[in-house]
């Protein structure tokens, strides 16, 4: 776990990543709070907080007495949300580092095209 951010946010993010990556399918059941707690070796209350965050966002939903499931359409919504964050989290740090190293935007584009091909 990363020290600088609350664990429950990190748990929520990992579940989101599993949905984005397809490891957790839409309408599929997700592990219980206690299973998350023992897997990540964290306090069950913290794991519960992370899961509830996704329930509040409508990414997961509860079936009473059965467990927690991935909502339909959640993958698409997560993609949209992550795209919004992409610029801030990846493009800006990339540009800042490029400026430090004297790499021009044109050179950066060439580098990206080369890596992507």
């Amino acid at each position: 776990m990363d020290e600088s951010r609350p664990i429950f946010l990190q748990i929520a993010e990992r579940i989101e990543n599993d949905i984005l990556g397809g490891a957790l399918a839409e309408e599929g059941q997700v592990p219980s709070t206690n299973e998350f707690a023992s897997f990540y070796r964290i306090n069950p209350a913290t794991a519960g907080k992370g899961v509830n965050l996704l329930v509040d966002d409508g990414i997961l939903y509860k079936k009473r007495g059965i467990g927690m499931f991935v909502s339909e359409g959640s993958r698409e919504r997560l993609v949209a949300k992550r795209r919004e964050q992409f610029s801030q989290e990846f493009v800006r740090p990339l540009l800042a580092e490029a400026v430090k190293l004297g790499i021009s935007p044109a050179q950066l584009i060439t580098m990206i095209q080369k890596e992507g091909s």
């Binding site: 020290e3 206690n34 023992s38 306090n43």
Partner: protein, 296 residues
């Protein structure tokens, strides 16, 4: 949530030495609390007071709403795993586990058996002949299998190897999830347990110096590093917990930073890093007597 332990203005003096100094804390039901601090800080004395094994000098203690001293109703619901538990001379581990149900009504013999296998504890060897780690394993097994509504672990794993400690954390979490209860754990291995804790109490020289939720404490401090002039400009007016310098560079630990602070720091080219619970405890319980920074 219900409060299981409520302590107000508690002090314990041994002659002229004050071991516990005007302590007030509350511990919620079904939570895992870390009682952290340096050697001699008062952790064990605190646990002895809460389990009625020491008499307080002043203040009040309420455990399950009652005074724990000589109170069988409270003590039957409490398990205290001591750092150096003494056993009768000819005792073997099997005797400990056979007598445990006399004291702990929730004792789960099957769970104890699985733990014995997990820790590879020789059941029929005399306790006197066991290694320090095996002795600790007995305490850990008693603490877990007793399923007492209130369980104290005082430095439960002296001599336990890394595998056995991990086993302890895993079994504690699993069983706590299945059978919620109130756990108070004192330890020096803060990094190892920090993710298990919900509530953190740090005691230093008999006083409480930190009392809060583990989640809040995680982002209660940050380290700002970069060019000294930029760091100095950024930390001006903030409470500085710690400072290190190397040539023209500085690394300074300050209190909580909000989103705007973080943005300002990265705009100034500074690097931000979180401070682990262990680092935070070290920062708050170190007496700094190094040259030129003698603390009062």
């Amino acid at each position: 949530m219900n409060t299981v332990i409520e302590v107000a203005g508690l002090s314990k003096r041994f002659g002229g030495f004050t071991a516990i100094d005007d302590v007030s804390i509350a511990i919620e039901e079904n939570s895992i609390t870390g009682l952290l601090g340096r050697n001699g800080a008062g952790k064990t004395t605190m646990m002895q007071l809460l389990t009625g094994q020491e008499f307080r000098s002043s203040g009040s203690i309420r455990v399950f709403g009652e005074d724990p001293v000589e109170n069988s109703g409270v003590l039957a619901r409490t398990c205290f795993v001591k750092e150096s538990q003494k056993y009768p001379d000819d005792y073997k581990p099997v005797h400990v586990f056979r007598s445990a149900p006399w004291f702990f009504p929730n004792w789960d013999a099957g769970f104890a058996e699985r733990l014995v296998a997990d820790f590879r504890l020789p059941l029929t060897r005399r306790i006197k002949k066991l290694s320090r780690g095996q002795l600790s394993a007995i305490g850990v097994i008693v603490g877990l299998a007793s399923r007492a509504p209130l369980t104290f672990f005082d430095e439960p794993y002296l001599g336990l190897d890394a595998v056995a400690r991990q086993t302890f954390y895993d079994r504690l979490l699993e069983d706590y999830a299945e059978h919620p209860r109130t756990v108070v754990l004192s330890t020096h291995l803060i990094d190892e347990v920090s993710d298990l804790l919900e509530h953190v109490v740090v005691i230093d020289e008999g006083r409480i110096v930190i009392d809060g939720s583990a989640e809040e404490l995680r982002d209660s401090a940050s380290t700002v590093a970069g060019a000294r002039t930029a760091v100095d400009a950024f930390v001006a007016g903030r409470r500085v917990l710690h400072r290190e310098e190397l040539g023209g560079l500085a690394s300074v630990t300050v209190g909580r930073l909000d989103a705007a602070d973080r943005k300002a720091a990265s705009a100034a080219g500074l690097e931000l890093a979180g401070v682990s619970l262990q680092q935070l405890v070290i920062r708050t319980t170190t007496t700094d007597t190094s040259e030129g920074r003698r603390s009062a």
